[in-house]
């Protein structure tokens, strides 16, 4: 009896969790004349992939995708390289400014978005860098980096120091002990860091909307929002685009859940 109730409760919440996703799928498959239908069918009448085709033929979807991929790629590389190095430094060495450094990384999480965005925006106006990817790449890297450094540090903390000591005795330099011995072992944390940096760039709308005003530079979020903000919302295109944008992220995210759990708990408990 208890078991049945558990299943019912879980199914109820799964239904709620999936309902909006199903809505997006549904809308993306609707033919043009049924976008405003009030029927809740699982698959809409006369389902069609027309919206997906229009996305690539009539709209600049491919260009937005290329732009987003470029920005996300640069942010991911920056995040992984910087966080893997700094996290190692914080984990293995005691140096002046270490505690302050770690605490200030935590503090950045309390900054409201505008606190960094506004000064950067004014700076970019003054430097004439509005409409450049440099601006968004810098802001995204900076937002993702503190969390990534903490994740990396937490993971390195779980790798025994004796491994490097052995490598050093065998004649490794500090750098090669780090690069050849420890870094490969930290692969799970590197994957999480890459995922978070990537998501920070791939899913960001508000910063991009201020900095990238030239439609040629638009990233996916700006493109998708444009379907919604025009006088009549193009729901079909919006649904199709959203689905294409979220599928890779959702799949990646779900595949990495297990590591996410351990990464998060380690970080918060061990501090």
């Amino acid at each position: 009896m208890g078991r049945v109730l558990t299943h019912i409760a879980l199914m109820f919440f799964v239904l709620i969790a999936l309902f909006p996703v199903w809505q997006v799928v549904n809308i993306s498959l609707r033919p043009g004349d049924q976008l405003l239908s009030t029927k809740l069918e699982f698959i809409p009448d006369g389902a069609t992939v027309q919206n997906y085709v229009r996305l690539f033929t009539e709209k600049d979807f491919l260009r937005w995708m290329a732009n987003s991929a470029l920005v996300s790629f640069v942010v991911t590389i920056t995040g992984v390289v910087f966080a893997s190095m700094a996290g190692y430094g914080f984990s293995r060495f005691r140096f002046a400014g270490r505690t302050i450094g770690l605490l200030s990384l935590l503090t950045t999480q309390m900054f409201p978005a505008t606190m960094l965005l506004l000064p950067m925006y004014i700076m970019l106006i003054k430097l004439g860098l509005i409409n450049s990817y440099l601006g968004v790449v810098i802001v995204y890297s900076a937002t993702a980096l503190p969390f990534c450094i903490w994740t990396m540090k937490g993971y390195y903390d779980t790798i025994p120091v004796s491994l490097e000591e052995a490598a050093r005795i065998d004649g490794c330099t500090p750098f090669s002990a780090f690069y050849r011995v420890i870094l490969p072992l930290a692969a799970p944390a590197l994957v999480i860091t890459a995922l978070f940096s990537f998501m920070a760039a791939w899913s960001e709308y508000l910063v991009a909307s201020q900095i990238l005003q030239d439609t040629n530079l638009w990233t996916l979020p700006l493109g998708l929002k444009s379907f919604e903000s025009s006088m009549s919302t193009e729901w079909g295109l919006y649904g199709a685009g959203s689905l294409i944008v979220m599928i890779p992220v959702v799949v990646l995210f779900l595949a990495l859940t297990r590591w996410l759990v351990s990464g998060l708990t380690l970080g918060s408990v061990k501090g």
Binding site: A17, P20, M115, A142, E228
Partner: protein
Amino acid sequence: MYTRRDRLFVAFLVIPSFVLLGAVVIYPFIYNLILSFGNMNLTRIRDWQLVGVRQYVKILTEPTQPDFYEIFLKTVIWTVVNVVFHVVLGVFLALLLNQKLRGKAVYRTLLIIPWAIPQYIVALTWRGMFNYEYGAINVILTKYLNLPAVEWLKSPTEAFLACILTNIWLGFPFMMVVALGALQSIPSELYEAADIDGATWYHKLTRVTLPLIRPVMIPAVTLGIIWTFNSLNIVWLVTNTGEPSDKTHILVSFVYKAAFNFYNFSQAAALSIFIFVILLALSLFFMRRSRATEAAY
């Protein structure tokens, strides 16, 4: 003691990150602080002056449209309601999932999905679902539950409620995952001992489970409060920049509007500092408490 080589190596590891963070976090922070004591706006972007605490005084004393204290109160309600629902739902689902159950992994995976979807897509999709005539929510209310349709996005209270519903939906998986991690680390002997002592499920919950997941939940709740307080995407996009007539703002969306729609740069900077100070104080309070609780176990 470290050798010279070790020190050079540490510098090589840490300095790049700190240069980047210094350039894009610490410098903007200081610039923002200075800006908050000035009078910069769109017409005075190059010849602005320092005017002391005028912006802060103005925020706290002069009536603004919308009212600052109302927004502040709304932000508190927003944060408390969201985090309470996130934690209660998250822990509840984690408890359900933390038992021998067929299809457990499938449930867990599906329940995490709201967390995985990019927030702006969540917001825009829910905005569509809250549409009065053809949004799915009203269709369910009227067709299946025989309730009157709700004008979700046209009046302040309902629009605010719509934002909260959206944000609850998006936030519970994080707490669920954290709680699940904490539950799995509780040794089963404790429950066996409790069974031998004849404890009811209620006693096991309140005397064993909850106290033991508390040390993990408190940092997560702190993080949750910070994230929710600072969460801009949902309110901004669900209400389409604060509709109707800027009555749905929480502090961060109000600041965003002040900065990027009204170009009151200095006012926005002062508000940002205000938010930061509140969150810093709150986190220090929680961190002290969590240290106290860790010492207790």
